[in-house]
């Protein structure tokens, strides 16, 4: 540890002498002799404990500090975990490159391959030119709206066509704000899973009925008896 500069030592000795009410020279002798070896955290006005440190060592004369040179002293070292709690549990992690990126790339290739093979063997439908005067029977919406079209045969159009999809979309968006349960454990959220599954299964059933079980006039049919009235 570096020597305490003379002028700093004098200044702190003056302060301590004033605080303790003892002669300045006595304090200075004690400090320059004994307390230099004490813990660096000890502040000049730390009290009697520092003042009564063994003064056995002979006083050393501090080297002169050249004019204009600023010196510094390490007062204390506070370890990080003494003032803040660092909570970092070790987790099992892997690098995204190559582990995740490679997997995503394979998924991309697989989907591209499947889609290409399907597209080679199955052409997109193209019926005759649109004719506003000849409505086909039955007329069906795209498949993802067939659940709603199915609802239209049970409810008033304003309910099935506007109210239910509107509330459905709003309710879907509101899920995180309605579900105040913080747990993600399935056993803790049986109700939420039950309600969500109910709506998913209900919309799947309605879409299936609307797609395959509705024939001319949107009347109920069996696909194995009357054929399928469905285009993608």
């Amino acid at each position: 540890m570096a020597e305490i500069p003379e002028h700093l030592l004098r200044r702190s000795a003056q302060a301590k002498a004033k605080a303790l009410g003892v002669p300045f020279e006595q304090v200075l002798a004690e400090m320059s002799g004994g307390t230099l070896a004490a813990a660096p955290a000890a502040a000049p006005a730390a009290g009697a404990a520092a003042a009564q440190a063994p003064a056995a060592a002979p006083a050393r004369s501090a080297p002169a500090i050249p004019e204009g040179v600023r010196t510094q002293r390490l007062l204390t070292v506070v370890k990080a975990n003494a003032i803040q709690q660092v909570k970092r549990e070790p987790t099992d992690k892997v690098s995204v490159w190559p582990h995740l990126v490679a997997m995503e790339f394979v998924a991309l290739l697989v989907v591209t391959a499947l889609l290409t093979v399907f597209s080679v063997f199955q052409d997109a439908p193209l019926l005759e030119l649109a004719n506003p005067n000849a409505q086909p029977n039955p007329s069906k919406a795209p498949w993802y709206f067939l659940g709603l079209q199915e609802l239209l045969s049970y409810f008033d159009p304003q309910v099935a066509g506007v109210l239910i999809p509107g509330l459905g979309l709003a309710g879907l968006a509101a899920i995180p704000y309605v579900d105040r349960n913080r747990s993600i454990r399935p056993s803790d959220r049986k109700f939420a899973i039950m309600v969500f599954t109910f709506f998913v299964v209900a919309s799947a059933i309605l879409t299936t009925i609307g797609s395959f079980y509705r024939g001319p006039g949107f009347n109920f049919t069996f696909p194995w008896r009357d054929g399928i009235f469905f285009d993608l």
């Binding site: 892997v94 997109a124 019926l127 993802y144 993600i184």
Partner: protein
Amino acid sequence: MTSNGNGRKTIGSRIGGIGAKLRGSEFWESVFRPGSPFRKGYSDSPRNRSYVIMNNVLYHLHPVKVKRHGVRLSYTLCLGGLSFFLFILLTITGIFLMFYYTPAVPDAYVDTAALSTNVAFGQLVRNLHRWGAHLMVITVFLHMTRVFYHGAYKPPREFNWVVGVVLLFLTLLLSFTGYLLPWDQLALWAVTVGSNMAGYTPVFGDQVSFVLLGGIQVGASTLLRFYVLHVLALPFLIVIFMAVHFWRVRKDGGVSGPL
């Protein structure tokens, strides 16, 4: 290595030298950021693997490391990533189709029919576009159910779920507007049935229907309107929402924890 028996440089080594010179050039280093595998002197170290992500545009999509359970295929089934990939596939095939398509009556139908005869790979690209669009609706929906069953919408990810619902809605709208473009009987009447539902809106029903169709029934102005929505307006919107969606995935903390 650098010379043959006559003490002259071989053609192979000259070409190799050009490659090495290019890879060390300032231009090359301005293109590939530090840590890129395409840079000179890349080695497969853990530090460089991290740099590949950290100094890369991918940093906006992926963290450097993820929890091991997060890369299990059975956890996410890649559904979100596949939805994004299908969007890109649909953009590419859609741009191809735009070269051969006129949004007018009856040109739209004639152009679509001509894809199978007059255009190289036209039918295949149209098939890819159509089946890919149906698949995207499915993957987006399944991605949503996957996120629900993992409880991945819980704090701090609530808002990203809302963004996801908007993306689902925009996906349906994109698919629906694209449905009309071939201008065949299927397109015309499916869209007529679908947009009739919008006409049931209380109070403003007729006005909503008129704005959507550009008239009182599906016609030439509807086709133009749906075309612009399909190729410009809705993709513009969905890209913005996707950017927010992906950004929030990164900011909110990647994949959710184990069950």
